[in-house]
C-alpha cells in the first residue's frame, strides 16, 4: 500500500508504452519523449573559467587532445543531473583552482518542454534553481536532467570497493525516485545519530536502540528500491552483453546484503532489520558504529558464474560495465518514460574498434542525444552522426 502511494510520488510516471494516448505518436509506432541538452554554461568549473555553449540537435562529439577539458565538460552535465561527480571527487575538487566556487547552468528539452537548471557550489554548500526559482532543497533538482554515462572510471565501479557500486545504485535511483533520496537522507541522519549514541560515555543502551526503528524503516525502503532496480537492470543485461560482444555469456547482477537470503518483503524486512541490529549490538558497540545496513551492502556482478569484482580481465570488466550502463539507459527510460542523455567519455581508448562499432549503434538506438569525447585522431573511427566540436584548454570552438 505504502509502496503504491510512494511510487506515485516518484518523478516520472511509468508511461505504459503505446497505451498512453495523451502522448504524441510518431507515424511509425510508439513514441517516447527524449531528453536533450540545448545549452550549457560553466563558471569556474574544473579547467573552465567561463563557457557558454549551444548544443546543436543530434549527436555531439567533443574532440580534443589530452587535458583539453573533455571529461570535465561531461562531468558538468552529469553533475547537473545528479549533484555529484562521476569521478568520485569531492565538490571542492571541482572548483577551478583559485576560485571560490563554481556555477553550472543548462537548458534542457524534454520534447518541446524546456527546463532551465542551475546549480552553484560555494564552500558553504550547494544551491539549486529550476526555471529561475530557487529549490528549497537540493534534491529537487535531481531527475530533471536524465543522464547516463560511461567513463574511464567505470572500471572502478566493477573492481573497486563496494562503495563504488553503491554509488552507482544511488546515482541511478536518485534520478528516478524522490522517496529513495528521502530515505537515503533519513538513513544518513539515523546512522550518524546512532553511531554518536554508540560512542557516548557512559553508554545508554536504550539511547542507541531508540534509533533502530527509524533506521530500519529507511533501510527497508532503500533495500526494496535497490532490489527492484537491480532486478530491472539485470533482466536485459545478458542480451545487451551479447549485443556488444557478439558472444553468449551469462551476465548476472545481484543485490548483496545480510538479509538478502531471506528475500523478505519490505514490511517484514523492517522487522528483520531491527532484529539484525539487536543481534549485532555488541559488535556495533565495540566498533563504535553501525556495522550492517544499506551503507555496507554491495552489488554482485557475475559473468558465467565468476565474480567480476575479483576474477576477471579488465576487458571483461569494462564490457560488463558498458552493458550495465546500457541497461541503465533502458531503466531510466522505463521508469520515467523519457529517454536519457548518454555521456560517453573517450570510448576509443577504452574499447577496441570492433566493440566500439557494436556499442555505438546499441547506444544510438536507445538515446536521442549522445555526447561523446575523443582524441582528434580517433574521431574518424566513431563515424559521428552529428556535430564535431573541437575543444582545447577549456574552450570550445563552435
Amino acid at each position: 500500500m505504502r509502496n503504491a502511494v510512494e511510487a506515485s510520488l516518484d518523478y516520472g510516471k511509468r508511461r505504459g508504452g503505446c497505451k498512453a494516448s495523451v502522448l504524441p505518436r510518431r507515424r511509425w509506432g510508439c513514441y517516447t519523449p527524449s531528453m536533450r541538452l540545448k545549452s550549457l554554461e560553466l563558471d569556474h568549473f574544473r579547467i573552465y573559467e567561463r563557457l557558454r555553449l549551444e548544443l546543436p540537435p543530434g549527436e555531439v562529439c567533443l574532440a580534443g587532445a589530452n587535458a583539453a577539458g573533455k571529461t570535465s565538460l561531461l562531468e558538468a552535465v552529469y553533475y547537473l543531473a545528479t549533484a555529484r561527480s562521476f569521478r568520485f571527487a569531492e565538490d571542492r575538487d571541482l572548483v577551478r583552482w583559485g576560485a571560490q566556487g563554481f556555477g553550472l547552468r543548462a537548458a534542457a528539452l524534454r520534447d518541446d518542454e524546456e527546463t532551465r537548471l542551475a546549480l552553484a557550489y560555494r564552500s558553504g554548500g550547494k544551491t539549486a534553481a529550476v526555471d529561475g526559482e530557487r529549490c528549497p532543497r537540493l534534491s529537487s533538482i535531481l531527475g530533471r536532467l536524465l543522464t547516463c554515462c560511461f567513463t574511464v572510471e567505470d572500471l572502478d565501479t566493477v573492481r573497486g570497493a563496494a562503495g563504488r557500486r553503491r554509488r552507482f545504485l544511488d546515482l541511478v535511483l536518485g534520478q528516478v525516485s524522490q522517496s529513495y533520496t528521502r530515505a537515503m537522507g533519513e538513513l544518513r541522519d539515523c546512522l550518524r545519530q546512532r553511531n554518536a549514541a554508540l560512542r557516548a560515555d557512559p553508554l545508554d543502551r536504550a539511547a542507541v536502540t531508540a534509533w533502530d526503528r527509524p533506521l530500519s524503516r529507511a533501510a527497508a525502503r532503500i533495500i526494496e528500491l535497490r532490489r527492484a532496480a537491480v532486478d530491472e537492470l539485470a533482466a536485459p543485461a545478458p542480451q545487451i552483453f551479447a549485443e556488444i560482444t557478439a558472444s553468449r555469456h551469462d551476465l548476472r547482477l545481484d543485490y548483496e546484503g545480510p538479509l538478502e537470503e531471506t528475500r523478505l518483503g519490505a514490511a517484514d524486512l523492517e522487522e528483520a532489520f531491527i532484529e539484525l541490529l539487536r543481534r549485532r549490538f555488541e559488535r556495533d558497540r565495540r566498533r563504535g558504529c553501525t556495522t550492517a545496513g544499506p551503507h555496507r551492502d554491495d552489488l554482485a556482478l557475475r559473468l558465467d558464474g565468476n565474480d567480476l569484482r575479483r576474477y576477471a580481465s579488465r576487458g571483461q570488466q569494462r564490457l560488463a560495465m558498458v552493458a550495465l550502463r546500457l541497461a541503465e539507459a533502458d531503466f531510466l527510460h522505463q521508469r520515467t518514460g523519457t529517454r536519457p542523455i548518454f555521456l560517453l567519455d573517450d570510448v576509443a581508448s577504452e574499447l577496441d574498434a570492433e566493440t566500439t562499432a557494436r556499442v555505438l549503434p546499441a547506444l544510438r538506438s536507445r538515446v536521442d542525444q549522445l555526447l561523446l569525447t575523443a582524441l582528434p585522431q580517433d574521431v574518424g573511427d566513431l563515424s559521428v552522426d552529428g556535430t564535431v566540436l573541437s575543444i582545447d584548454g577549456g574552450r570550445v570552438r563552435q
Partner: protein, 204 residues
C-alpha cells in the same frame, strides 16, 4: 552607517528568518516611526525575557508572577477543569498551541523541549526524561500519548520513551502517522493534527 543602527541590525539578524535585507527594512522603519513604537517593541521584548519562563510542571511556557518564591506554572497546569486522565507529550511549547487549537484534547501536556540528538549531546538527561518518568509514576494517568513528529528523531525519542515508561504499566499510544512521514508536527494543519490524535494507536 551610524553605530546605533549597525548595532540594531546586527541584533535583528540573529533572529530566525531575518536576513540582511529584512533587518535593514525593520531598522529604517523604526527610524521613521513614532518613538513610542520603538519603546513598546523594546519593552515587550524585555518583558518577555523577564516574565516568561518554563512551567515547572510540564515545560510549557508560563507567565511568572511578581512573587519570586512561586515557581512558574502554565495556564494549562493551573486549570482545574482539565482532564487528569491523559497526558500528551510534545516537542516544543508551540506544539501545545497547535494541539489546543484543534480542540480534540483536554488533558495535560508535557513539553520535552527538543528531541534526541546524540550528535549535539542531547539525550535523556538534557530532555529531563527522568523528571517526566517521575511525573507519570506519581500521577494516575490512564493514557500517555506520544506526539513527537514522525521524523527519525521524533521516532527515536518515542521509542526511548516507550522503553522508559513501559515498566510503569500505563497505556501508551502514538499519534497516527496521518501526518505524512517526515512531516513536522509544527507544520501540520489543524485538520491533519486532529486526525492524528483521533487515529492514535497503541504502542507495542
Amino acid at each position: 552607517m551610524v553605530p546605533s543602527l549597525k548595532r540594531l541590525l546586527a541584533a535583528l539578524r540573529r533572529l530566525p528568518g531575518v536576513g540582511a535585507k529584512s533587518a535593514q527594512r525593520i531598522g529604517y522603519h523604526l527610524l521613521r516611526a513614532e518613538k513610542s513604537e520603538s519603546y513598546e517593541l523594546a519593552r515587550s521584548i524585555v518583558n518577555l525575557a523577564e516574565r516568561v519562563a518554563l512551567c515547572s510542571i510540564c515545560g510549557n511556557i508560563a507567565e511568572t508572577t511578581a512573587d519570586e518564591n512561586r515557581r512558574p506554572v502554565c495556564e494549562i497546569c493551573s486549570d482545574p477543569e482539565r482532564d487528569e486522565e491523559r497526558l500528551l507529550i510534545v516537542e516544543e511549547p508551540y506544539n501545545v498551541e497547535s494541539f489546543e487549537r484543534t480542540g480534540v484534547f483536554n488533558g495535560r501536556y508535557h513539553v520535552l523541549g527538543g528531541l534526541f540528538d546524540p550528535l549535539a549531546g542531547i539525550g535523556a538527561e538534557e530532555l529531563g526524561l527522568d523528571k517526566l518518568r517521575r511525573r507519570i509514576a506519581e500521577a494516575a494517568y490512564n493514557e500517555i500519548i506520544l506526539a513527537t513528529s514522525p521524523t527519525a528523531a521524533g521516532e527515536a525519542t518515542a521509542a526511548y520513551l516507550r522503553e522508559l515508561l513501559e515498566p510503569l504499566n500505563v497505556r501508551l499510544t502514538r499519534i497516527a502517522v496521518g501526518l505524512s512521514a517526515g512531516a513536522d508536527v509544527d507544520y501540520a494543519d489543524e485538520v491533519s493534527l486532529r486526525l492524528a490524535v483521533e487515529g492514535r494507536r497503541e504502542m507495542h
